[in-house]
C-alpha cells in the first residue's frame, strides 16, 4: 500500500492532524453466539498472519508493566519484530510491581465451586454492571492459563506442603481463587513477564528502549503507525514507525496528585492518543482504596497502600462522639483510652453481614462520611482507626505477626507508630482507574492500528474493580488476547502498510512535540510543575473524588481551565531539553493532566447516577447507598476530542446483559 502524503510540513495548528473527518462509530465487534463459545469462535475467525511473514511486521509496545511486557514478549515469540518503550530505567520497575495481594484465576483448585462462569459473574457484578459481558467472560476464561504460564516461568507462588499451589479468598469473594506470592505478587508476576521479555530481547526479537517517554502518536491515513519519543537522558526526540502501536501505559490515578500510583505514572500516552482521535471511555471511573496510610502533611508526595487483607482481622472505628474525636486529634486522648461503648464500629454497624469486609468503594465512602461528620482521628481530619486489639486478644500477637508482620513493619516505618500497641490509622486513596481508552473486543481503539491493553483500556472492570483482578487483566490482555487479535489487523492491512519515519506526518508530529517542549521551557514563570499538580489534585479530590455532585463538578470545570491558563503563563522549568531534566518531564505530564482532569469532571457530570467507584451525592438511596440508573446509564461513555477549547463529544456504547441479571448490590 502506498503511503499517501496528506500533510504539509508546516506547524500544525490543531492536533487532529491526520484523523479522518468521518464520524466515530463505536463498533465493539462482540462475536455472536453463546458467551462461553465467543472467544473460541472468534479466535477461529480471526485472520492469521503467515508465519514466514511475521518477522516483516513491526509492532510498537509502549509500557513494560504486566500488560506491556507480556504482550511484547508474546508477540516476539510469535515472530513479530517488536519495539518496547518504558520511562523507567528498566522494564522490571513498572508500577505493576507494587501490587501486593494476588491474582485471581478460576482454577477451582480448592474445589469450592469456582468456575470461569462464577469469576465472570462476580466481576460483572463487582463492576456494578458497567462492563462488557463478552470481554469479562473471556478474561475469566483465560485466567486459568495465566497461572499456568506464570508458574512455568518460575514465579514462586505460595504453596502448600504437598507442593501444590495455595489460594486465599480476597476482597470479599465467596471462593478462594486468589494466587499470591507473599505480599509481592505484582513484583513476582512482573519479573516473570520481564524474564520472558528479556529472553526475546536477547534473541534480538525485541528492541528495548528504557528511559524513553512516548510524547505523541503518529497517525497516517487514519491509522496509528508510529510514535514520537523523548530520550530522557539526552533529550533527543526520535520517531518510530511500525505496522501497529500498542499502548500499555497504565492508569491515570496521578491526576489526583496524591495516589498510590508511582511518581512517574501519567496519562500522557493515552491522552495524546485521545487528542489524535481515540475515544476515552469512562474517565470518571476511579477506584479508591480504603486502607491507605493517611496524609501526614503538605509535603506528602504519594500515598502508600496497605493490603486489603488487613480488613480480615482489623476493625474499623471512630469515636461515637465528635468532642472525643477532637480530643484525640489534639493528642489529649489516646485511642486506647476510649471504651468500647464510646466507639462506633461503623462498618459493622451498617453492614452486619459483611462488616469490615464490604467492597472497597463502600468502605471508602463510609470512612469519608464519618470524617466529614467531624469524627476523624488524625490531625489532618482525614483518617479512621483500623484496630487489631481484639484480634491480638483472640489469636495472640504472634499469629497476627505471622499474618500481617510485613504490613505492620511497613506501617511503623512510615508513621513511626507500633500498630501492635496502638490502632492503625487509615484513609482511602486513589488506587486504580477503571476508565481508559475505548477498545473493541479485539482491544483495538476506534483508531485502526492503535491497541490499548491493561489498565490503559477500559474494558473489563466496569465501574469498580475487584481485588486481585488488575494483575489478571493485564496479563490476560498481554499474553492471551492481544497476540491473537492484533494479527487480524496486521493481516488485513498487509506488510507494506508501514510508513517510513521520513513521512511528513512524522515531521509534523515531531515539530509539535518539540515546540511544546520549547514552550514549557520558555515560560520562565514562578511556579513549579509540582505546585500546579498539587493544586489540580486538590480540585480533583474535592470535586471528583470519592463523592461527587453537580455543583462541585461544574465548579471544577471552571477552576481547572483557569489553573491551566496560569500553568501556561507562570510555569517555571529550569534547565534545558538536551539533558536529563526531571522538571521538564513532570511539566509535560502535568500539562496533560490539566486537560484530562477536565474530561474526567465532564464525564462524572454527565453520568447522573451512582455506580461502583462513581458516587453522585444526588443519586443515593435513603440509607446513603449508591443508586444506579440502569435505564438511562447502562452505557460506556466514550469521549471524542473535537479540537482545542472545544467541548468533547460523548459517544455511547450500550451495554447489553444477556447472562447476568442486574441487581442492586447489597452488603447489608
Amino acid at each position: 500500500m502506498a503511503i499517501k502524503k496528506k500533510k504539509t510540513p508546516t506547524k500544525a495548528k490543531t492536533v487532529k492532524t491526520n484523523s479522518r473527518t468521518s464520524k466515530v462509530i463505536l463498533d465493539s465487534k462482540i462475536p455472536a453466539g453463546p458467551i462461553a463459545d465467543k472467544w473460541d469462535k472468534h479466535r477461529f475467525n480471526l485472520k492469521l498472519v503467515n508465519p514466514a511473514n511475521k518477522r516483516k511486521y513491526e509492532v510498537i509496545v509502549v509500557g513494560s508493566g504486566l500488560a506491556g511486557a507480556s504482550a511484547a514478549a508474546s508477540l516476539a515469540e510469535l515472530g513479530y519484530k517488536v519495539k518496547c518503550f518504558c520511562y523507567q530505567d528498566s522494564p522490571r520497575r513498572a508500577h505493576s510491581i507494587a501490587a501486593q495481594g494476588g491474582i485471581n484465576a478460576a482454577k477451582n483448585y480448592q474445589n469450592d465451586g469456582d468456575s470461569a462462569y462464577r469469576l465472570f459473574y462476580d466481576t460483572v457484578k463487582g463492576g456494578d454492571y458497567r462492563s462488557r459481558e463478552s470481554n469479562v467472560y473471556r478474561l475469566a476464561q483465560v485466567s486459568v492459563d495465566i497461572i499456568d504460564q506464570c508458574a512455568a516461568q518460575g514465579v514462586p507462588f505460595a504453596r502448600e506442603y504437598g507442593g501444590l499451589l495455595a489460594n486465599r479468598s480476597f476482597g470479599g469473594a465467596q471462593v478462594s481463587r486468589t494466587f499470591y506470592a507473599r505480599g509481592q505478587t505484582g513484583q513476582q508476576l512482573l519479573l516473570g513477564a520481564y524474564s520472558a521479555l528479556n529472553r526475546q530481547i536477547s534473541l534480538g526479537n525485541v528492541e528495548m528502549h528504557t528511559r524513553s517517554e512516548m510524547l505523541d502518536v503518529v497517525m497516517i491515513d487514519g491509522h496509528a503507525k508510529g510514535i514520537v519519543v523523548r530520550n530522557m537522558i539526552s533529550g533527543e526526540i526520535s520517531r518510530h514507525a511500525a505496522h501497529s502501536v500498542v499502548l500499555a501505559t497504565g492508569g491515570y490515578g496521578n491526576v489526583f496528585f496524591l495516589s498510590t500510583n508511582a511518581m512517574g505514572c501519567n496519562v500522557t500516552a493515552s491522552y495524546r492518543a485521545y487528542k489524535r482521535g481515540a475515544c476515552f471511555a469512562n474517565p470518571c471511573f476511579t477506584q479508591i482504596h480504603p486502607t491507605c496510610i493517611p496524609v501526614s502533611g503538605d509535603h506528602q508526595s504519594k500515598l502508600t497502600l496497605m493490603s486489603e487483607s488487613l480488613r480480615n482481622d482489623g476493625r474499623v472505628w471512630v469515636p461515637k462522639d465528635k468532642k472525643t474525636a477532637e480530643k484525640i486529634r489534639k493528642g489529649e486522648l489516646s485511642p486506647n483510652d476510649i471504651s468500647d461503648k464510646d466507639r462506633d464500629y461503623f462498618l459493622e454497624r451498617k453492614y452486619p453481614s459483611f462488616g469490615n469486609l464490604v467492597p472497597r468503594d463502600v468502605a471508602s465512602r463510609n470512612a469519608k462520611e464519618v470524617c466529614d461528620e467531624g469524627r476523624s482521628v488524625v490531625s489532618s481530619g482525614l483518617g479512621v482507626y483500623l484496630d487489631f486489639a481484639d484480634s491480638i486478644k483472640r489469636m495472640g500477637e504472634n499469629t497476627v505477626r505471622e499474618r500481617y508482620g510485613n504490613l505492620f513493619d511497613m506501617y511503623e516505618k512510615i508513621t513511626g507508630t507500633n500498630a501492635y500497641q496502638n490502632p492503625m490509622t487509615i484513609y482511602p486513596a486513589v488506587h486504580y482507574t477503571m476508565g481508559g481508552l475505548w477498545v473493541d473486543y479485539n482491544l483495538m481503539s476506534n483508531l485502526p492500528g492503535l491497541f490499548a491493553i491493561g489498565e490503559a483500556n477500559f474494558s473489563d472492570h466496569g465501574a469498580n474493580r475487584l481485588g486481585a483482578s488488575a494483575l489478571m487483566q493485564g496479563l490476560a490482555d498481554g499474553y492471551f488476547v492481544l497476540p491473537y487479535t492484533i494479527g487480524q489487523y496486521l493481516a488485513e492491512n498487509g506488510i507494506s502498510d508501514r510508513p517510513s519515519i521520513d513521512d511528513s506526518a512524522f515531521s509534523v508530529v515531531q515539530d509539535e512535540v518539540e515546540s511544546r517542549i520549547e514552550t514549557l521551557l520558555s515560560i520562565k514563570g514562578d511556579r513549579t510543575p509540582t505546585s500546579f499538580h498539587r493544586e489540580l489534585g486538590q480540585i480533583m479530590w474535592d470535586k471528583c473524588g470519592m463523592a461527587r455532585n453537580k455543583e462541585g463538578l461544574e465548579e471544577a470545570l471552571l477552576t481547572i481551565p483557569k489553573l491551566r491558563k496560569e500553568f501556561w503563563q507562570n510555569l517555571s522549568v529550569p534547565g534545558k531539553n538536551t539533558a536529563l531534566n526531571q522538571s521538564l518531564e513532570h511539566a509535560g505530564r502535568v500539562a496533560d493532566f490539566l486537560e484530562f482532569g477536565e474530561l474526567m469532571c465532564r464525564d462524572a457530570l454527565q453520568r447522573e447516577e451512582s455506580c461502583g467507584g462513581h458516587f453522585r451525592e444526588e443519586h443515593q438511596t435513603p440509607e446513603g447507598e449508591a443508586k444506579r440508573n440502569d435505564d438511562d446509564f447502562s452505557y460506556v461513555s466514550a469521549w471524542e476530542h473535537k479540537g482545542e477549547n472545544k467541548k468533547p463529544q460523548l459517544h455511547k456504547e450500550n451495554l447489553v446483559y444477556d447472562e447476568v441479571k442486574m441487581t442492586q448490590r447489597s452488603y447489608k
Partner: protein, 250 residues
C-alpha cells in the same frame, strides 16, 4: 528541623562532578527522605535553578528505582529500608547529610544522583529466565514444588534490583544480585533444564560488565532493603561449580 545537605552534582556522564551545599529548612520528621529532597527541589526550581536529579518511582520500597548513598550508606542504613521509605525522624536538627550516587564503574552516573543500572538488565538477559513460550506450558499444579524450596526461592526472588549491594560493596561486586537471581530459578523445578547454562551465562555477563569480586565482607547483605542472605552467594558458587563440572568439561 533544619538540615544541611552536601549533595553530589554532576551534569552528565562525562562531567567530573562536584559537591554542592543546600539547606533544608522546616523539615518535618514525618517526611520521607525523598520528600525532604522534593521540598529542597521546590525551592531550587522556584529560584530558577536546576533541581537535584534523583531517581524514584513507586516510593513504597518495591520498584527498586531510588538509589542514593546517604552518609556513606546506600539507602541510609535503616534495616530493610529503601531511601524512599526512610523517614526524617531518624535524623536530628542541625545534621549535615551527605548524599551521593551509587558508586561503581558498572553503574555510570547519568546525572547528579541518577545512575545507569542497565548492566543488571544485561545480566538478566544473558540467562535469567526460563525459556517457555506463551501458551506451551503444563497445568500449574502438574509440577509440584516442595514448599521449603518454593519459600526459599521466594526469599531470593524478593530482590528488587536496586543495586544497593553493588553500591555498598568495597569491590562493587554484583554477587548478591546475581546470586539471588540464579538461586531463585535453580530452586524451582521449572528452572532445572537451563540450570547450568544459566549459572555460567550470568556469571560471565557479570564479569563482562566490570563488577568486582566477592570478598565475603557482607556489606551487601547489611544494606539490602529486602535483607537477602549471603547464603545465596554460597548457593550460586555451588551452582557455578556444578555447572563448571557438568558443562565446562564438554
Amino acid at each position: 528541623m533544619n538540615l544541611k545537605l552536601k549533595v553530589w552534582r554532576q551534569d552528565n556522564a562525562e562531567d567530573d562532578g562536584r559537591f554542592e551545599y543546600f539547606e533544608a529548612l522546616d523539615i518535618s520528621p514525618d517526611m520521607s527522605f525523598l520528600e525532604m529532597l522534593d521540598v529542597v527541589n521546590e525551592g531550587i526550581i522556584s529560584d530558577g535553578d536546576e533541581a537535584i536529579a534523583f531517581d524514584s518511582d513507586c516510593r513504597e520500597g518495591i520498584c527498586g528505582t531510588c538509589s542514593m548513598v546517604i552518609n556513606g550508606v546506600p539507602h541510609g542504613g535503616q534495616k530493610g529500608t529503601t531511601a524512599c521509605q526512610l523517614h526524617m525522624r531518624h535524623f536530628n536538627d542541625g545534621d549535615t547529610i551527605v548524599i551521593e550516587p551509587w558508586r561503581a564503574t558498572a553503574f555510570p552516573v547519568h546525572r547528579d544522583l541518577i545512575v545507569d543500572r542497565s548492566s543488571f538488565d544485561r545480566i538478566q538477559r544473558s540467562g535469567g529466565f526460563i525459556s517457555v513460550r506463551t501458551g506451551s506450558v503444563p497445568d500449574a499444579n502438574a509440577t509440584p514444588v516442595a514448599k521449603e524450596n518454593s519459600d526459599l526461592a521466594m526469599d531470593a526472588a524478593q530482590c528488587i534490583g536496586c543495586g544497593a549491594c553493588v553500591a555498598a560493596c568495597k569491590n562493587a561486586s554484583a554477587m548478591l544480585f546475581v546470586a539471588a537471581k540464579v538461586s531463585h530459578l535453580s530452586l524451582m523445578p521449572q528452572g532445572q533444564p537451563e540450570r547450568n547454562r544459566r549459572a555460567l551465562a550470568m556469571v560471565n555477563q557479570m564479569d563482562e560488565e566490570g563488577f568486582g569480586n566477592c570478598s565475603v565482607n557482607g556489606s551487601c547483605e547489611a544494606v539490602c532493603p529486602k535483607e537477602i542472605s549471603l547464603d545465596f552467594i554460597a548457593r550460586m558458587n555451588r551452582e557455578y561449580g556444578r555447572a563448571l563440572l557438568k558443562k565446562g568439561c564438554s
